[in-house]
Symmetry: C2
Subunit: 230 residues, 2 copies
């Protein structure tokens, strides 16, 4: 399907056609290559996390799954989105560098990436610099049963949901017309972000429920003998 | 100081001068009037909340102060920011309607409001529609000592901080040049938003600390006999 309805104008395939991208160098890697590298490396990371987390004493399967998610999303935020934040001219890359190719390809689903939209860069900056490292901290917090495990996972999930909300609302306000074709619209713009709506929602609800359950069995909404509410 | 360095071009006082605002009607109310109405009505609301919260049994002064904050910020989000979200043509208002005057005046500190910047509208939309009602729910949660009191206050504060971060980062990425003068820059753009950085930070840290304290005294990071971690 790739390229079936994409048009090259102004030297690039992105919508709007009049987007000014001097020095644009087309994708060197085919879509299948880009997606399979991301998919395969993610699979390795998730499998390794699953295997190593199994060695932890008394860990539940849910916590092991959560660790897999936080490793996957943390590395995606830090490496893939981190590169985007600090490489404003990725579209000029001639070397076929993988991360530049990722964003050249993804921009077919949302040209605000290649066009350096302020809202997109702001959200990606917060995601890469704060939520990325915080996600890896969540892995450590789950593994070592830290008291901040739930509230940290809740905070990151809420940040991911807020970022996704800003991402879609700004697109709608700007006319929602940044995709090269409807294939890229649904595959990249909708499909690739779908996990970051569903999974953070589930995790945020789980953390909310568990924190409420703990606070609920304490007198005065969380006060304990050991820990006075300040 | 008002208007000392403001210039009227293209029929309006905002920066950039070439901002296209057909049908713009200048502010009818003076700055002192706009600020004193907001200040006075906020003071009444805060005083009433303080008085009525004093009737609640065994309530701490900190919780009473928090209730005052949540009433104030909740009503600001819902009424003032809510009006902005649903009145894209406030700058054409001829009637001297107070809320239109507020945004005509505030836009001197940040013309992205009158210019309907997508990032600003997205953040204000989330703030007005989600964080506003949630703030009033926080008042109820504190008053009735709900188990979700801390996590709700934490969630709203984090949302406020995320929104403020997006607000400033997008401004910087767009050149940070939307103020009519340095007076409006520091008084409105910086000064008026300052409370929404400091207070949510303090509340978020307090909630984090208290939730951790409660989770920390439970076995397995929050598990209790009554409430199994799911």
């Amino acid at each position: 399907m790739e390229g079936s309805s994409s048009q090259v104008s102004n030297g690039h395939p992105y919508i709007p056609h009049d987007l000014h991208l001097p020095g644009y160098v087309p994708c060197a890697l085919p879509m299948s290559n880009i997606l399979s590298v991301y998919g395969f490396s993610s699979l390795i990371v998730v499998c390794l996390t699953w295997i190593f987390s199994g060695r932890l004493p008394k860990i539940t399967k849910v916590d092991r799954l959560l660790m897999c998610w936080w490793v996957f999303t943390g590395l995606t935020h830090m490496i893939v989105e981190g590169y985007f934040v600090f490489a404003p001219e990725f579209f000029k890359d001639k070397t076929g560098f993988y991360l530049a190719e990722v964003w050249k390809e993804y921009s077919k689903g949302d040209s605000r990436y290649v066009g350096r939209d302020a809202g997109v860069v702001a959200v990606e900056g917060i995601t890469a610099l704060l939520e990325g490292p915080a996600s890896l901290l969540a892995v450590y917090a789950i593994a070592t049963r830290k008291s901040y495990s739930f509230i940290l996972q809740f905070a990151i999930s809420l940040g991911q949901l807020y970022g996704t909300a800003v991402y879609y609302i700004t697109a709608i306000l700007q006319g929602d017309n940044f995709s090269t074709s409807s294939f890229y619209y649904y595959a990249y713009y909708i499909g690739a972000n779908f996990s970051w709506i569903i999974i953070p929602s589930i995790i945020a609800m789980r953390c909310w429920r568990n924190i409420c359950a703990v606070c609920g069995v304490q007198p005065q909404g969380g006060q304990t003998k050991k820990s006075k509410v300040r």
